[in-house]
Symmetry: C2
Subunit: 329 residues, 2 copies
């Protein structure tokens, strides 16, 4: 194994050893050898082998103006949902010769902005982006370079990037209706601040359509107070009569269900439990929960497909692709 401090051979070194110009070596590396003598090509080949030269792909970038890397900016890689979207994208773009790399906003708007800035700078071929909010200005201010972008799981009003979304309104409405028909007509909605994200607004509207009464517990992700939220949740769920707990994100079920179960705040007869969730873990924590799955792997695959079409310069890119959620009951 070579000493890690030894500098790697550059195109200049190869040119020197082969006794040609850098431009000539560059032409060789990019396959433009028609005007080159066999002797010259052979000298270059030998020099490359001798020095164990691996072309810095930046040289290729300059020639091709393409790095063949797709960036995927996830809202939070601690969420199974984000990880599955990335796996779906990878499965598609890697077939076409790209590699996809994952970056993490970590639920921080500041960090999201910094990463968008870096992604804009770095010359990635394309971006699949799962925004934290539906704030288009936050995004458009940073993504000034013209390169293909696909948005996942959010509307970004007044933007023209294609998007891949869930049928949020209808999935929430029909799920709520199912439980209402079983007598669970009062709904306790557990969610992050609704107005910040199109998906939450649509889900809330769907629930409102089918529920008799709604009590909403909104969590400020920038100032998350677990005990205060648990207190409000416990109070809402302890009121007399049957009710449905509807969490708009899996993270909130994982956060609060274990304690609600342990402290017997909820029970199968009085409380129905649902939410948008994709792992098998919810069923382990609360066996009578019936969740709505968004199928993030498929959403990622669709986003990857759309991005590839954009990279090929195709024109008729669908503005919105809807992947229907599945209610498991």
């Amino acid at each position: 194994m070579k000493d890690a401090s030894k500098k790697r051979p550059t195109i200049r070194d190869v040119a020197k050893v082969a006794d040609v110009s850098v431009a000539t070596v560059s032409r060789f590396l990019n396959g433009k050898t028609q005007k080159m003598s066999d002797q010259t090509a052979e000298r270059i080949r030998v020099a490359i082998k001798k020095m164990n030269y691996v072309p810095n792909s930046a040289a290729r970038e300059m020639a091709r103006n393409s790095s063949r890397i797709i960036a995927v900016l996830a809202a939070n890689i601690a969420d199974y949902f984000s990880v599955e979207i990335y796996r779906g994208i990878s499965s598609r773009v890697e077939e076409a010769g790209y590699i996809s790399v994952l970056l993490n906003s970590g639920s921080s708007l500041t960090h999201e902005r910094q990463l968008l800035h870096s992604i804009n700078q770095h010359g990635f071929d394309g971006l699949v982006f799962q925004p934290l909010t539906s704030d288009t200005e936050q995004v458009a201010g940073e993504l000034t370079r013209d390169f293909p972008v696909v948005v996942v799981d959010r509307d970004l009003p007044r933007s023209t990037w294609p998007k891949v979304v869930t049928d949020n309104y209808e999935a929430a409405r029909s799920t709520t209706e199912y439980f209402a028909d079983q007598g669970f007509q009062r709904v306790v909605v557990l969610t992050s601040t609704i107005e910040l994200a199109s998906t939450r607004i649509q889900r809330f509207q769907g629930i409102s359509q089918a529920a008799s009464t709604i009590e909403t517990i909104e969590i400020d992700e920038n100032n998350f107070q677990p005990d205060a939220v648990y207190g409000a949740l416990k109070k809402a769920l302890s009121r007399p009569g049957k009710c449905l707990l509807f969490a708009l994100k899996e993270r909130w079920l994982l956060e609060f269900l274990p304690r609600l179960m342990k402290e017997h705040v909820i029970d199968e007869a009085r409380t129905a439990v649902t939410g948008f969730a994709d792992t098998a873990l919810i069923g382990s924590i609360c066996p009578y929960a019936k969740v709505v799955s968004q199928n993030p792997f498929l959403m990622g695959q669709r986003a990857g497909e759309i991005l590839l079409q954009m990279l090929k310069g195709k024109k008729n890119i669908p503005e919105e692709s809807v992947i229907k959620a599945q209610f498991k009951h």
Copy 2:
């Protein structure tokens, strides 16, 4: 928002509009303006603004021979452990002006090899790598370029890359001893194929040191048969007397504990439960489990620090950094 198919302006376009050579624009972009007239610099500035030109960072790469991106290749991003390592690395390298991007071997050796090949090609500044196995040849065959690499959570024999590891032997030994002192002297070890990974070998040796008897259930990750494994596990755990279930990876506890609990195969009086695990979920599934946490965020931070030192060309890089695991009891 511009039409996504419009090509972004290149350095050549700017040179044309400013009526200078590409080399001159390049010097301007890299701050080498000492020999340039004010007029020329101003023409270039105006041209850049007019065309909304964003320097392709590949140009910077050529000038600087550095892309300022750290690649992190995880064994499996579905594991909380891998995600936390990445978050730890990011927290360190981003302070120093790098961005770190995550790639996913997805527990597949073939995929790991392909990604190592791509990473080698692409000119990333550095790599933090969480190998699937301790097979050094698999890795060394692909990482032929000289650039800083730090290995996390595995030994790679006969390699010289610095590594960040857990005190696997001692953590496993002392944990087993704790339970043995409480009468749980028979141990059922639940693990992926032991011989493939240094960490598993070390943990198994530690357990062997403190246990009276051991029964081992080894899972072939390339041919995972959940029902067959569950059957063997149930048989081992149902034998008379007390025993300790020791899982060498969190994934196996998440996979099997819910069903073992549900079917009453285990109970607090007869079965102690432990394993290497980092999330709070295990406690939700089995309240009497007492796990060993590796502190992956800290491991990632240490790996990031070491990588930064290597990038600065420092010489005395520690070959091995040990982050001690914590037994929560």
